[in-house]
């Protein structure tokens, strides 16, 4: 495989973000962000807290409604439609829901439903949204739980699980929707350090199996090892992007150099 001429089919972007803006009141959090994600690509969004990376991710599936700009998934605009008169208006709830199902999200705080078992959390979406039969959803749910190493916890309630286990269940829940793209919002930031590894391993396996992923993370080793592209945000704008090795080590961009230098210092301090 040559790095100069990748396969043509993988060149057609799955997700396109075009000049996205988001303001909370007078405060503009995203100041025109453009991005494209190809099938099976893993894109890491990096940046300091407040840089807008989580807001960007939450705009992708309309948990935050963008103030301007467009998001296209396989060419279909997310969250808005253009009427006959050329006027743009928000999609009806049912159609937005259908679009969201194609972009499952994994949250920082897991957000498992406490009143459903582990298996119930995984089958809820397929049964309620996809209309799958319960038997089929459970069979597939058990397969997914096996994939994240938690088949034996299927009948437990989330509260009985460690943070790392809960996040793996949340990943299985997101996978159960057979999404076109997986969104991860700082999936390891709320975990005890010793539990981070098990979640990153599951994500690494997903990345290697060809899952398209957009990952907001502070885990530099994950960004380096699993991402095809990393994007550095600062003040609501993209300041650098490219292959992990380029952005994290070789970029001449002073803000990129500064960001990754401070992270290396942190790591060195942690190891000392």
């Amino acid at each position: 495989m040559s790095a100069v001429s990748p396969p043509v089919s993988a060149d057609v972007p799955l997700l396109v973000v075009d000049d996205l803006r988001k303001s909370f009141g007078a405060h503009e959090v995203l100041k025109g962000v453009s991005l494209s994600v190809k099938p099976s690509q893993v894109v890491g969004l990096l940046g300091r807290s407040g840089s807008g990376k989580s807001t960007l991710l939450r705009c992708l599936n309309m948990l935050e409604v963008p103030s301007a700009g467009r998001i296209l998934l396989e060419g279909e605009e997310i969250g808005f439609e253009t009427g006959a008169g050329g006027r743009r208006r928000p999609l009806p709830a049912a159609r937005l829901a259908r679009q969201r199902a194609a972009m499952s999200m994994v949250f920082q705080h897991f957000n498992l439903w406490p009143h459903r078992t582990v298996l119930g959390n995984v089958t809820e979406g397929p049964v309620q949204v996809l209309g799958m039969s319960r038997d089929e959803a459970e069979a597939r749910g058990l397969d997914l739980l096996e994939r994240v190493g938690l088949k034996d916890k299927a009948d437990s309630y989330p509260i009985r699980l460690s943070g790392g286990q809960q996040q793996r269940v949340a990943i299985a829940r997101a996978l159960a929707m057979q999404p076109k793209i997986m969104l991860f919002d700082e999936p390891t930031s709320a975990l005890d350090p010793e539990l981070v590894g098990e979640v990153l391993q599951v994500m690494l396996d997903l990345a290697r199996s060809g899952t398209t992923m957009v990952v907001v993370t502070h885990e530099m080793s994950f960004a380096r090892n699993a991402c095809d592209e990393v994007v550095l945000l600062e003040g609501g704008q993209i300041v650098e992007r490219g292959a992990p090795d380029f952005v994290m080590s070789r970029s001449e961009n002073p803000r990129a150099r500064q960001f990754f230098a401070s992270h290396r210092q942190e790591n060195a301090g942690g190891a000392a």
Binding site: L63, H115, A170
Partner: protein
Amino acid sequence: MTYEWDFSIFNEYRGLLLNAALVTFQLVVLSVGLGILVGLVLAPFRMAERRLLRYPATAVIEVVRSIPPLVLVVWCYYCLPILTGLALPAFWTCVFAIALYSGVFYAEIFRAGVQAVDRGLIEAGLSVGMRPATVMLRVTGPLAFLRVLPPFTSQCVMAIKNSVLGSYIAVGEILYEGQRLSIHTFRPLEVLTMVAAFFVAVILPLTLTAGAIERHVFLKYFRR
């Protein structure tokens, strides 16, 4: 104490008392059931983002909540027919007045429950493609209800006890028939003790069961 208790009157008038207990039972079931329904209808309006929906619901809740329940029952019985020409039998007046009165409290309890549900759990529902209505039915609603079980139980107890207000408008429930009996037999101590014991016997099993359910729910879903 020299008072000689004589509970034999209850045996003598057991038909009348059983009938009165049955009326109380009907009053309780109907007013609690309707009250919960009123709460379920009012709460979404009270939480609506549109003022046009929220303000009327808020007004109903605040006005009804500030009227003493006895005043509300008597007002509905005497004033409402004069003002509207709508005259209901005393029993149904009592059912609707108590249902409305407890309904506004149920509405506030349900609202508190829904607002206490972690936003992240709702977003998790939306992100697997649930419609807002499905999220309410499958996530927000059940979790809100589990969270408000204790105040919900308290409100049910209040509503059950409020059924005695029917005695003021001559609904033949347990207090009304009891008072008639005490006048007739000159045995108010026995009768009022019996009425009090009746409510303890009805309510205590309910609250004990609710308490057991609460503990079970808490241990199963929420406690580490």
